[in-house]
């Protein structure tokens, strides 16, 4: 059993991706299978960026238990009004500034769902929590 908690600050574009880098580094240190590392790297990077662009930051909890790697992305942002739309490839609400920085192509949630073995999304006007699970084997 291993649990780690990371904080992500609102609109902190400069540090965008640092949590995902730390998680990726730890997965390599453990010696997780390379195909699993790749899926987690892509999904966690997207989810981290989403927290920075759309929500007011939040926390990421990374845990491993019994062959399952779980990542929880909990933000206190405005919530996702229409989940179906948000899961449509290419649909984006990113601000002009975010787009200029290369973010907000409208594939974020789509890729997060595609690369994870289990995807759960809970959203309200209080915030959004995405829970991803990955099988280690």
């Amino acid at each position: 059993m291993l649990t780690k908690k990371y904080l992500v600050k609102e609109k902190d574009y400069v540090n965008a991706g640092k949590v995902s880098s730390s998680i990726k580094k730890e997965l390599k240190e453990i010696g997780v299978d390379e195909s699993v590392i790749r899926k987690i790297a892509i999904a966690s990077y997207e989810a981290e960026i989403n927290m920075i662009i759309h929500a007011n930051g939040g926390e990421i909890i990374f845990s491993i238990d019994d062959g399952i790697i779980e990542l929880v992305f909990a933000d206190t942002g405005p919530g996702i009004p229409n989940i179906e739309l948000a899961l449509t490839p290419g649909w984006s609400t990113a601000s002009e500034k975010a787009r200029q920085m290369g973010f907000g192509a409208g594939m974020g949630l789509v890729n997060i769902k595609r690369y994870s073995d289990s995807f759960d999304l809970k959203t309200s006007t209080e915030g959004t929590t995405i829970t991803l699970q990955f099988k280690v084997f």
């Binding site: 880098s21 240190e29 453990i30 010696g31 790749r38 890729n111 280690v136």
Partner: protein
Amino acid sequence: MKSVIKYTLDKCHKCMKCIQACPSHALSMKDNRIVINTGECINCGKCIKACVNQGLTAISSSLDHLKDYDYTICLVPSSLVAHADVKHSVASLFAALKKLGFDEAISLSYVEAGLYQKERENKGNLMISSFCPLVNNLIKKKFPALVESLLPYDYPSEIMAKEVRKKYKDVKLGIFNLCECEAKLELAKYPHNNMEYEVDHAISIVDIFSKISSNLMETNEDVDFDINGLLLTCPRAIKRNDDILLENSYDTVTNVLDMAEFGLLDDFKLLRLYPCFSGCLGGSLVWGNGYVAKRNLMRLKDYNHEVKIDIPLDELLNKRVEDKTGEKSFKEKLEHFNLVNNIFEKLPGYDCTACGLGGCRIMAEEIAKGNRKIEDCKILVKENKQ
């Protein structure tokens, strides 16, 4: 992979510069001497540059072995050819190599150009060129998720060695590859006993450069090379292409690989990564510098002579298999990671290297394995005394 680097001092000055420079934490200090963990070393050569007392060196084979064979062939890397500025001096370079005792000198530029052609044919997902042994080692060690993105092609020296062996089946043939960097010294049977390679001996260019230059003279012999292969030795000389990403320094290469692992470079088709500054032209075992060589290379461009050689796809592929036995189960790996983490949290985290290891994480790893004790940490011992 095996380390080609050896430590040569009897007594070290203990500046720890090499340990700090090593990106793989493969170096440590034991009994006043540097020990290289050959399984971790990626042959980047950073430690050699970092040592101010010339205590580390890359071991290369020697020309003495020419006499072991009936017929000898010298494979000439394009990075060496590109250091000549006119076609005439390329011809004298090849003539000088024959004077050193080789029966034949063959430019690798044909294979290099042919391989690049194949690399550019990739229309699918992002792939990474497999031409640089250092990048391949780096990916295997530090970016394992990208191993499946490596193109399956073998090294130009190996492809050419296989070709010439077919031609000289009935003689005792010795194939010598001139190497422009530490990582390429690994790609031969000798001196590092890597029997899976077709090339017999790997020779460092700097080791024989004085002999080459003293034999340089006017020649009437003609020489053939493929200019497209030569241009590949320097990323700044390659024609720009939107689908191809070229980088030329160790740090940018690692940044690019990091981004590729996050899927951020999927719009590209090919990554061609040169960890040496100026590319292979600037390899640390090449005499001369990358700036001058790049200028010379641009002059050679006028000799736009292309020689096509046709090698079947199957013979371009790297078929050496890596031994992956002895891997621990995930449960064991996680238990070990937790154990290392617990020790790591007790250490100061300054990565001062005073203990003789590459940083606190490596120290925690060594304590977990039972090779060191927590009291070996000089900072903790000092803090406890106060």
